[in-house]
Symmetry: C2
Subunit: 244 residues, 2 copies
């Protein structure tokens, strides 16, 4: 029996956002690996091994999953959202680069609904025009690069999705990001704080840049920053398709 | 009976990429509206009205769908990919802005797998770091704005996803985009041409910027442009999580 590895996106929280492709892979798996809160979303069943690990163990998790595939197991690494967006897929390819003997394994990435798409859908259509996604964590890149990208994205008038805006270990970055945005954008600019989107704890809050506070974001929040054209209509926020 | 409108994403082509949420809405619908090739993906059944229209009729389609919801029907507008990414959701909110009496209707956006996520998953993990999405169609925005965004995105070292790069009506824009990228990026920069992704006609081609030609893209192609760090490992392309 030949093994394989799938890196699968579970979407932002609600299991109704899983794709059929991911459901099928999970049903065929012998081993599920991932950060503990994501593995906890998988129903146990006889013969299925669950391997939960911590959130700083991406590379060792990827090595473990690849070694399971080599041994003929059907391994699925589960990620929240989409595995290719600030998640596990890149870690697997980093390990493949170190271990060329594994490059011919059956490795597939199965896309999922990433947080910005789910947050945008709940708010209306804020990503209706050109946009960018920036990971605000400076664990793996210098803060100066984040700051440069925020400024250039504002000058390009992109809608922005900020992933990992703020955590206990990084309490200050998002406040610094807001300060940069206040230099680059007008005070009426609309921001959406989408917390725990599609879960029972979901909160969606729309505020102006002038009224935004760093404490509105935490580890479970994604922040969408409108372009100059983003506006409210009734209870919705959207960005028109046209721009001048 | 109270009507509603859902604007639903069908994903890029393969029905295995539909979410359960979208399947449920389609099963409950009395009316399906959309661009003809997307409506053609819905299986007919007794009592289900299919309303196919042309691809320049977004606003009249949105008005039609909202008027069906007012009349107590359960309408679903289907979009390829995600409805909030260069698709129908923004058109619905544009119509709601003109017609405040419709703003209290039950209107929901149901996210889908947008083309860049599916294309990235097939290639590896090219969106593994900060990225942007730019619609290359200048039907609704000036070309100068597209050019400005391309330059700033290159300077920010974003991975880029270019939607609607080239069509029979707009044969020249993508060639101009390549010329701009050649001014801003090194010749070894990796590009992925992902055509008809997840369909039987799928083609995924990775080339350097030096070797890229405008004719490699058509209406069904999405083009991913790597950052400075994007690289190949075996048959995959990925962008490492870290940057300097």
């Amino acid at each position: 029996m030949s093994g394989w590895l799938a890196i699968a996106g579970l979407g932002p929280g609600d299991d109704a956002l899983l794709t059929e492709e991911v459901r099928t892979a999970l049903a065929q798996a012998t081993d599920i690996l991932g950060y503990a809160p994501y593995v906890a979303r998988i129903a146990p069943r006889p013969g299925l091994q669950l391997h939960a690990s911590d959130n700083r163990e991406e590379l060792s998790r990827a090595r473990h999953a690849l070694s399971l595939a080599v041994a003929g197991r059907r391994a699925v690494i589960v990620s929240s959202g989409d595995p290719g967006v600030f998640a596990m897929a890149a870690s697997v390819f980093e390990v493949l680069e170190e271990a060329p003997e594994w490059q011919f394994l059956d490795v597939r990435v199965l896309p999922g609904i990433t947080a910005m798409l789910a947050a945008a859908a709940k708010a209306g259509a804020p990503l209706g025009h050109d946009f960018c996604a920036i990971n605000l964590s400076d664990n793996l890149k210098p803060w100066a690069l984040i700051e440069k990208r925020l400024r250039l994205a504002a000058q390009a008038d992109f809608v922005m999705a900020l992933y990992n805006p703020r955590s206990a270990a990084r309490p200050d970055g998002f406040g610094r990001a807001l300060a940069i945005l206040r230099e680059e954008c007008e005070p009426e600019r609309l921001l959406i704080f989408a917390r725990a989107v599609t879960t029972p704890q979901e909160q969606i809050q729309t505020v102006t840049l002038a009224a935004a506070e760093a404490e509105m974001a935490d580890m479970r929040t994604i922040v969408l920053i409108g372009s100059r054209s983003t506006r409210e209509v009734g209870r919705f926020v959207y960005t028109p398709r046209g721009a001048s």
